[in-house]
């Protein structure tokens, strides 16, 4: 049986929170492994840092910062929803979380290029 239409803002906010969380869970082990190379294999780290200067990698970093920011502000929204007195502005808050995350990641990108 077909599931109901999910095209409403809070369902998208749920999916975005899940997908960003999964993305970060995949990224963080790689991130820590790379940091560990500073101690165990500095040449490999330098090689990667040179690779990270490529524009396409910068663009990927923009995506990464967006995921981080949207997961943080989305998470703050959920904490507020569950622990603060109820607010009817959930759709506005979810949209705000995406907006702030976009602002932060774009600023990061513009500084990086």
């Amino acid at each position: 049986m077909k599931a109901p239409a999910r095209s409403h803002p809070l369902w998208f906010a749920f999916v975005l929170h899940r997908v960003s969380g999964l993305g970060l869970a995949l990224f963080l082990p790689a991130h820590f492994w790379l940091l560990s190379q500073a101690l165990s294999n500095p040449a490999r780290l330098d090689g990667f840092l040179a690779f990270a200067e490529m524009p396409l990698v910068k663009l990927a970093e923009f995506g990464l910062v967006f995921l981080l920011a949207v997961h943080m502000f989305g998470g703050l929204r959920l904490l507020a929803l569950e622990f603060l007195p109820w607010s009817d502005r959930q759709k506005t808050l979810a949209a705000g979380a995406v907006g702030v995350a976009f602002l932060i990641s774009t600023t990061f990108f513009l500084k990086a290029i």
């Binding site: 049986m1 077909k2 599931a3 109901p4 239409a5 999910r6 409403h8 809070l10 369902w11 749920f14 959920l78 929803l81 569950e82 622990f83 109820w86 009817d88 959930q90």
Partner: protein, 244 residues
């Protein structure tokens, strides 16, 4: 209605959970026609073996909810013009529930969970006590009032993806009723309600997707009620720790 839409092309779920098929019917289109009108026409003029459920026809009893083109709706108050402007309809029984036959979903799991959530009145007084005055402007009473228009139609239950993924989850309707009673000064079951809604399948399973509030035909907000339960159960948990 334009000439092209003198008939509706209606596909209807037949059979049970164990075996289902889809039948197609051509139904004459009318002005101000509801989905329930269409289902009734099929049963009266095309196939008398079609099973479905309805009672009041005015959006009060909550018995006629079905999936209409994939969306849970109260069929008696749903106009064809609004949900199927092209004249094509897919009508199925409510999602997330077993099917008795055709369009009649088995509501037992829904009401069993209503009971499991302690969503029944726990009297604090007897008939011999004087009638307690209730202040309608009291903030707690106002919070309880928000949920009392629930008609148990199970549309929120059918809309909820958490129910679909977790058969133990009590669901939006039962939890909203528990929240209403928790805020009702005449109810004496505070601790049993908090215990019931904080266990396996309780309010903390909710992912706040908001489909319950999106599709509730009475425009109630079970997500708000569940957030309230999450707050109260968390408070009670930390208080319990301190007392221990």
């Amino acid at each position: 209605m334009t000439a092209a839409q003198e008939t509706l092309d209606v596909t209807v779920h037949r059979g049970t959970t164990r075996g289902a098929r889809y039948d197609r019917f051509e139904v004459p289109a009318h002005e101000s026609q509801t989905v329930l009108d269409v289902v009734s026409w099929i049963q009266q003029f095309a196939d008398p073996t079609l099973s479905y459920r309805f009672a009041c026809r005015v959006g009060m009893c909550g018995s006629c909810a079905m999936m209409v083109n994939g969306t849970p709706r109260w069929t008696c108050r749903t106009h064809i013009k609004k949900v199927a402007p092209d004249g094509k309809l897919l009508i199925e029984p409510l999602r997330n529930l077993p099917v008795i036959k055709d369009l009649a979903a088995d509501m037992d799991p829904f009401f069993d969970k209503w009971t499991a959530a302690e969503a029944q009145h726990h009297p604090s007084q007897t008939r011999h006590d004087p009638i307690e005055a209730i202040d309608p402007t009291d903030a707690t009473r106002a919070e309880a009032d928000l949920g009392v228009e629930c008609i148990n139609c199970a549309i929120c239950y059918a809309a909820c993806d958490t129910v679909a993924g977790n058969p133990d989850y009590l669901g939006p309707a039962a939890l909203q009723r528990a929240w209403t009673l928790l805020n009702d000064s005449r109810d004496d079951g505070r601790q049993s309600i908090l215990d019931a809604v904080s266990g396996t399948g309780g309010c903390h399973n909710c992912h706040s997707m908001g489909s319950c509030a999106q599709y509730c035909p009475n425009e109630l907000n079970p997500m708000r009620a569940i957030a309230g339960l999450k707050r109260e159960t968390a408070k009670s948990f930390f208080k319990g720790k301190r007392n221990a």
